[in-house]
Symmetry: C2
Subunit: 238 residues, 2 copies
DNA sequence: TTTCGTCATTGACGATCGTCATATTTTGCG
DNA sequence: CGCAAAATATGACGATCGTCAATGACGAAA
């Protein structure tokens, strides 16, 4: 854990900071909250918090990609969701029983803004505006899980994989040339399969099917896809 | 909408009331909140709120069973979740953009405690203790959706159906005699299939398989199951 | 009671998925 | 550069699911 960076706002990409700009009325309390921000950089594969440990605060993803995973009693585990930049994680245990029910691991080199529980719990707990912001985060996560349920009920695995690849490309796409976009895939095949709820062998065949359609090319962790047509894939595939 | 019942606590089963007992420190604000409770009885099939309408408050289910469903642009719809007694619904749109993204329909004759938005929005919005309660509701719903994701990833449809039937039996089981429990199934086959994410034909075959195991007997809406063995079904089925 | 419409079940068949086994590729390290 | 371990891909096969079509059961209204 680094020492707090108290000069200016330590995390301009942080959604908390952004909202303090959008809502000037609440700015004072949020500014004092920002004073307690701690910036932390995570290397690839580094764990932000482990399942079963005490909640130490609320985290906002600034850069990179964080995977939230639950480990079951039988040794298996499930990749619950990915946290992209701008999203807040850790509020579930912060508002709940105080214990992380998931493990948070950086899939790429990442940066998070930490609001330590010790330093500002009273500020978070007793301030209705900030409580509402946290509640809004919860609402967004509920929306996301609802969308996921609808996706699972409506779309095929092939479409879901296409959607996932497009979202990843939006966040991790590097350069764009000759109508193609490229990225380094931040997830392993196992993680991709886990996220879709299929077996790794099935995922491999899903990838092959997408490649046969010509929408995308995946070799190892190198992903290349056409810029525009893939955008319509989830709608066009029957 | 009925007129408010202001004598005593109108809804003793309501979780809001229950928590006001558990946390005496917050009792005053919650008692004044309870003054605004409106009790509303819903007949089977009646709609509590429709998708796309403005949020009119927060609802707590006292009795019965409420189905939350989203209608998609293509005419299809997805049954997102069931709300059992003690659960709070409507807070998503209350805390969010103010518009219901789901339709709430009573599957059985039900009773809900309504906290009208107009009467108590300031109380809900400006009181950190109540905001935290609402946030806690959000956390619980996130937990439930996470469990659902894990179930979908881990269990077979057969096990998921067994789990669902057991949960329904816990809430709607009527009498218990000779080691058997009985209930009137509160959901149609289509709704059951929707909740599991399968087609109605598949659900019918899932039921047939459960019946062949001898765990349960389902004729129309009449469900009879053994009291104890089914409890272990989800663990024993390989 | 009869009729009609809706809901539920059943059958058949093609497509997809899970599982196991085996090959191939990639990755990390010496 | 080369090797070993891990990750990924492929093949085969049984089980399950979705789809379409047809049948059967149930309830509401005449």
């Amino acid at each position: 854990m680094q020492s707090a960076a108290k000069i200016d706002h330590p995390c301009r990409q942080c959604a908390f900071y952004a909202e303090s700009v959008w809502h000037p009325v609440e700015q004072d309390s949020l500014r004092s909250l920002a004073q307690n921000f701690v910036r932390r950089d995570l290397s690839e594969g580094e764990v932000l918090f482990e399942q079963g440990t005490d909640n130490r605060g609320v985290f906002c993803v600034s850069r990179g990609l964080i995977a939230l995973r639950t480990h079951h009693a039988d040794g298996n585990s499930t990749l619950l969701r990915l946290a992209y930049p701008g999203e807040v994680i850790g509020f579930r245990s912060f508002l709940g029983d105080g214990q992380h029910q998931t493990e948070a691991r950086a899939l790429t080199p990442s940066r998070v803004c930490t609001v330590p529980r010790s330093a500002s719990s009273h500020l978070l707990q007793d301030n209705p505006a900030i409580m509402k912001q946290l509640a809004t985060r919860c609402v967004r996560e509920i929306d996301r899980t609802h969308e996921r349920i609808c996706s699972a009920a409506t779309k095929t695995y092939k479409e879901q994989l296409a959607d996932l690849l497009m979202t990843l490309m939006d966040h991790h796409g590097e350069q764009q040339q000759k109508g193609q976009r490229h990225m380094r895939l931040p997830l392993s095949r196992s993680d991709l399969a886990d996220l879709l709820g299929v077996q790794p062998e099935t995922l491999s065949r899903l990838i092959k099917r997408l490649e046969k359609d010509g929408w995308v090319q995946i070799k190892g962790r190198h992903v290349t896809m056409l810029s525009h047509p893939l955008r319509d894939l989830s709608a066009s595939i029957g």
